[in-house]
Assembly symmetry: C2
Homo-oligomer: 462 residues x 2
């Protein structure tokens, strides 16, 4: 703590909790990408909005960069601090501030883990419906910063739809109360929406008012085995046409093999190239019959080769584990991750082109596919062979990402569906956003963060 800047920080924000141990610097300086070496100046753990504001003012005086930090489960390097930044961790600001039954809102501090948000909503008989596998570790503030999606988007949309209000500290240290839970508010630019997905480059989300909704009806979970990729959209359309879908997720045989090797239970006798996990409302005889009709029609058409439907909550969880366990099961292979999207109707053509592209580009690499087919979102994970160095592997993968980016331009897609741009996707942002848009983003950043102290180098270079 001999750095005079830190001494001034503690003088300016007297009760601030600050960490500078090597272990802490490493822990708080990186996210799940593991590609950059953490090297923050220090870790600040404010407990109040005023402390956050004090830190931002200090950072402006000293021109120290701040990396806002939630659960650091990000996959794009958005929360990496590799250049002497101050990490501003929201982890102590993790409480429910208010529940309002009439407004159906839950007001929380930004550091609250998503799972804790779920639990708090459930206590009141309601749900916060955004959900994904990192729920136990990720924070709601990070969800907002990346407009997190997940496994329920097909039914409930992205994080963006569930934010009734935000409290934000801008790059110049102003505290903004954005939208304040109003259902209708046509009073100028919606900076709440601008903040959502801005990856901590415009402001630090410190509190959020979340919209809640009714719990879904009882559901069933089905696993479907598919003989080929080509029938995936047919199966999706059949199920979507007959049922109220809560989720519709796909993965490949390679993905399944990794999850089974990681301890999951084998679901079907034989192996198939592609699988779907779908969850749907099934609360009476009519909806159960509709599910069976959809399944049987797909079997008759040859679109589905086998399947199983959950008979209990435990079995539903076993089926879900096959999909949700993938990321963890392949983590030890340091996968290079692509998280791309196209509009739903462009999916078949894009899938075909991408499959051919990756087959040619990665003959020696193992590629694990999964994704949210009903949202047009594919996750393509390339696993690092043990005999390849980290650097060589990333170089080879980035060559292919450039080809993938070209395919995205052609099909009107996005280089990041839900992970965000961060550092990992920054070189490819122009495949999704025009040069004019990127120039406007730089201009807007300048307005909210004139000294460029908030998460600099993420999303785009200044």
């Amino acid at each position: 703590m001999t750095d005079p800047r830190l001494a001034d920080l503690l003088a300016s924000v007297p009760d601030l909790r600050l960490k500078t141990d090597a272990g802490d610097l490493e822990h708080y300086g990186r996210d799940w990408t593991r590609r950059w070496n953490p090297a923050p100046l220090a870790i600040a753990l404010p407990g109040t909005v005023e402390e956050v504001q004090g830190i931002v003012r200090w950072a402006n005086r000293h021109k120290v960069a701040i990396v806002p930090s939630g659960g650091r489960t990000g996959l794009s390097g958005g929360a990496v601090a590799a250049n002497g930044e101050l990490v501003l961790s929201l982890e102590r600001m993790n409480k429910v501030l208010d529940f309002n039954r009439v407004d159906r809102t839950l007001t929380v501090q930004a550091g609250m883990p998503l799972e804790a948000v779920h639990n708090a909503a459930t206590e009141h008989g309601l749900v916060y419906p955004v959900d994904f596998a990192a729920r136990g570790s990720c924070s709601i503030g990070g969800n907002i910063a990346t407009n997190a999606g997940g496994i329920r988007v097909i039914r409930y949309g992205n994080t963006r739809e569930w934010i009734a209000g935000l409290t934000v500290v801008t790059g110049s240290g102003e505290v903004l109360q954005l939208n304040r839970a109003l259902v209708k508010n046509s009073s100028g630019y919606d900076f709440r929406q601008l903040m959502i997905g801005s990856e901590g480059t415009l402001g630090i989300v410190v509190e959020a008012i979340l919209r809640l909704t009714d719990p879904p009806p009882p559901t069933n979970v089905m696993l479907l085995a598919l003989p080929s990729f080509e029938v995936l959209m047919e199966v999706f359309n059949e199920f979507r046409g007959r049922l109220r879908l809560e989720a519709f997720e796909f993965f490949t045989d390679r993905a399944l093999r990794h999850v089974l090797a990681h301890g999951a239970q084998k679901p079907l006798e034989d192996e198939y190239p592609f699988y779907v996990v779908t969850e749907f409302a099934s609360n009476d005889e009519a909806t159960e019959a509709a599910a069976m009709a959809a399944f049987e029609h797909c079997m008759e058409q040859g679109w589905v080769a086998d399947g199983v439907i959950s008979q209990s909550e435990a079995q539903a969880q076993q089926i879900w584990r096959l999909r949700e366990g993938i990321t963890e099961a392949v983590a030890r292979y340091k996968p290079y991750k692509n998280d791309v999207s196209v509009r739903i109707s462009a999916m078949p053509a894009f899938l075909q082109e991408t499959q051919a592209l990756l087959g040619e580009a990665y003959p020696h690499f193992e590629v694990v596919w999964f994704g949210h087919i009903g949202d047009g979102n594919l996750h393509i994970n390339v696993l690092k062979p043990d005999d390849s160095s980290d650097a060589d592997f990333v170089t080879q993968c980035e060559h292919v990402t450039r080809l993938l980016a070209q395919a995205l331009v052609k099909h009107g897609g996005s280089i990041s569906a839900e992970h965000g741009i961060g550092l990992v996707k920054k070189p490819y942002l122009a495949s999704t956003r025009s040069e004019a848009e990127i120039a406007l983003m730089r201009g807007v950043k300048q307005v909210f963060d004139p000294n460029g102290i908030l998460n600099p180098g993420k999303l785009f270079d200044a």
Copy 2:
């Protein structure tokens, strides 16, 4: 057409349709506010995005202000051209460009009337669910510019939720394709959302990709007579708890009297101080029974004094006319309109305070109330007495608006729920948005419109 600037405009955009007749200048220079004297330079009616771009570039060269213009049904002066501006009317750009069944999207030009959008969606067995009384005249581009709300917000949200993509020409003449119908897209700042509700001050919306949805189930419409304002939230909670509400609207006895005088049919024997029109899904015996149970419970509690339920589509329309006919019925009194909102839970306290305030402030004026109780949105129309001059009347009303704005600050509300700020609400913007937010708005405007040619003086002064 002797103005050399117009000669240069026609030289730059050769096939541009331009109007300069006095009648056209008056017609296109004003909106429904009728408070400002129209005085535009000319009316341009482009037919293509390229022509719009050409006009904007010309405007930048000559520093001529542009007023983007849709159906001019606005109630805040957002489309008024009273200072030698060029009105850029989108009325010729009014076509459907694409329908996509898989994406469930309708791509339209911005000048398309809302009702034509409804009809185009219906042709494909789907609906565009944003709806309000001006549907026949207003344009979808204007809806987007003000984030229009209306009578179905309680079920479907505002315009903001239904925009999958926008094509926009910025103040510097760049054409942006924003979001391009992607369901998931986490690739930097969401300028689509920033444009929605920006009242033509950042860019001109030229095309929009609209999300469509399934038609609602069969519905019934009920008229309820209430003995007092105080029970309104009780009735709302009772109906919301038991039914899938499509709409829940209220109005006062004075409002009803004007609609009856304007030709509507008297719905009930006696008169009551307050009325509710509610529409709800009613497609089987269970939902019909739930509606009757809600009604009977409210009668038993004394919250509802009388009521009628629609027995036919024709009767449903008659009941709706009582609510939807109000604006037209009071139009001849040149009403001073307030369009305010608070969060739903703040409604009872705000209603009480506002009622007292207006009772004191306007002992000699007739005040007509109606609104969207389930969205926290109140419309307060003050009718001009015949013996009062327009100027005197507005001055007196603005005095009260200042008091109302203070009440909004106290209750955390908005000076504009759905009409937008425009010219009418500009003096009161600071009751809803902080000085820091307004300064940031000015900064963002500067980024998108560096020469300040787009709708200057609307929303805020430069």
